[in-house]
Amino acid sequence: MESNKVIENKKAKKKRNSQLSDTWLRLRKDKLALVGLTILVILIFVAIFADFIAPYKYDAQDLSNILQAPSSEHIFGTDEFGRDIFSRVVYGSRISLQVGFIAVSIAVIIGGFLGAVAGYYSGKIDNFIMRAMDILLSIPQILLAISIVAALGNGLTNLMIAVGISSIPQYARIVRAAVISIKNEEFVEAAKATGSGDLRIIFKHILPNCLAPIIVQATLGVALAILTAAGLSFIGLGIQPPTPEWGAMLSGGRGYIRDYSYMTLFPGLAIVITIFALNVLGDGLRDALDPKLKN
């Protein structure tokens, strides 16, 4: 009997994992999420080692070889200045991934925090925060981003800040709604009864239970952020040529789309693949973070 108990305890100890490794174990069972994760890792790898992967420099012009179709020399073809599109897509991953992730991080962190505070405290604080969000929402997102970049000046950092700030209201609204639906659960009262502070209750008990909508919105948001950044680059704010950026390449190739569609095809594909990878990974992560769905 006694030895049985010891064995049982040992088992329990062995099984005790941190939440992180628990999540990983569950994520590993989700094949599609693993595909997404792999693609994302490759993309990040490409962005970091762009200097070694790209066969040409991203701004190397070869005016005798403009608008070439894909060939063994230029596997994605060349653009109107004879620049190698493959190299530009590779270098472009740096900017696009940065803009996508950092802008969304800004929006999720600030918007999520504001939304959580508004939802949790309700009353005057809620009204104040959400009316401020309504003001932001009433301005079209791209217009808002334009005015922020115009105020802060050009540049990658300012672009990310602009795109981030302009999508804060979405996250604030989603998080607020989710927090309101959770905060009256009894386990929140139980946490209050044990003397937990408000911040601990929000971060440990409420937010983990409303991750699903946040993750879904954030993975879609990365795509949206890349496109918004592209839009800004297109009107001359944000990323300046010749720096490659997927969105800017897309809009740059727009004029040639009928005869030289590969100019838009490849950067477009890059965006599609990134977003696809993020979405499946986000779905998988959402399920993996929920112990209820553990099989």
Partner: protein
């Protein structure tokens, strides 16, 4: 009679609603002695749970005093309140929604210890968690399980373990068994009784189920529309209920005997709305003894001798 541990004086909790003030708990007073159980009964929406939560300041009371160990805990600041909560805990009604679905059994029970920084090392913490699990009869192998994997009885044991982790003296049991089926109810009630003897706990036992309350309580208080209308030791309450509402309530308990006959008092009408209640007795509209005075004057909870208190103009 033991020493007085908790004294509730004129406790009030009003909620603002669109229609007006909702008097959830209206001028409630009672005492609980150390090591005893006060059973608080009443129908749904009469303010039982709100009373329990107001005592622990989960919902801040509107007015009144809660005197615990000769100190008014409603005057405590944030730090003192946190210390107070170590001594006073609560077990919730629904073992499904009172446990955070994202946390494992270990994390759920360790959370109060962690929040109050009771233990410095991890091994001390996990020893205490295991100790509490033994205390409430939870198998050690469940330590990494999540609540959704367990049945209602085990979940409620987790809820009890969480409350016990901080070594409290006083526990509010907010309908701890009403979400469980009958045989599990008995298990949990026996566990409560065992823990009370073992640890010298004092309970405020909130329930709508009279047979359950009878099983555990030393003193019973009956609530109706935010007020206590009758308070007495459990024996005399069941033998000789004084208030017409209590009489009706007790006559509704099924008798476990074939062919047993008893007089049932069927109440007519509904509970009036607790929003902006008119003066007078809350039971006025449903009482068969009603007279004009009941409509004008709210009866007070008066001592009628032998430690019994009744709020009715006609019980002396």
């Amino acid at each position: 009679m033991g020493d007085r541990l908790l004294e509730v004086r004129n406790l009030k909790k009003y909620f603002k609603t669109k229609e007006g003030m909702l008097h959830a708990v209206d001028d409630v007073s009672f005492n609980i002695n150390k090591g005893e159980t006060l059973g608080l009964v009443g129908e749904s929406g009469c303010g039982k749970s709100t009373t329990g939560r107001a005592i622990l300041r989960i919902h801040e009371p509107t007015d009144g005093e809660v005197i615990y160990n000769n100190e008014n805990i409603l005057k405590y600041d944030k730090n003192k309140k946190k210390k107070m909560l170590r001594k006073m805990q609560i077990v919730f009604q629904d073992p499904y929604s009172s446990l955070n679905p994202r946390l494992s059994v270990f994390d759920l029970i360790a959370d109060p210890l962690y929040v109050n920084k009771i233990y410095k090392t991890k091994s001390e913490l996990s020893d205490r968690v295991k100790e509490v699990m033994d205390l409430v009869g939870l198998e050690q192998r469940l330590i990494n399980s999540y609540p959704h994997e367990l049945d209602g009885g085990r979940r409620q044991r987790i809820g009890i373990a969480r409350a016990l982790a901080l070594r409290p003296e006083f526990i509010v049991l907010d309908e701890p068994v009403s979400a469980l089926d009958v045989c599990i109810q008995a298990q949990i009630l026996n566990l409560m009784n065992k823990l009370q003897e073992q640890l010298g706990l004092t309970y405020l036992f909130i329930s709508h189920d009279l047979s359950v309350v009878r099983h555990v309580s030393d003193v019973i208080a009956v609530m109706y529309l935010g007020k206590i209308i009758e308070l007495s030791d459990y024996k005399s309450m069941f033998i000789d209920p004084k208030h017409p509402y209590t009489q009706a309530l007790l006559s509704a308990i099924p008798v476990p005997k074939v062919g047993a006959k008893r007089e049932r008092i069927i109440l007519e009408g509904d509970v009036p709305s607790p929003v902006n209640p008119p003066p007078g007795c809350g039971f006025y509209g449903r009482c068969k003894y009603r007279e004009d005075i009941c409509k004008e004057k709210t009866p007070e909870l008066l001592n009628i001798g032998e430690g019994r208190y009744v709020a009715c103009h006609f019980v002396k």
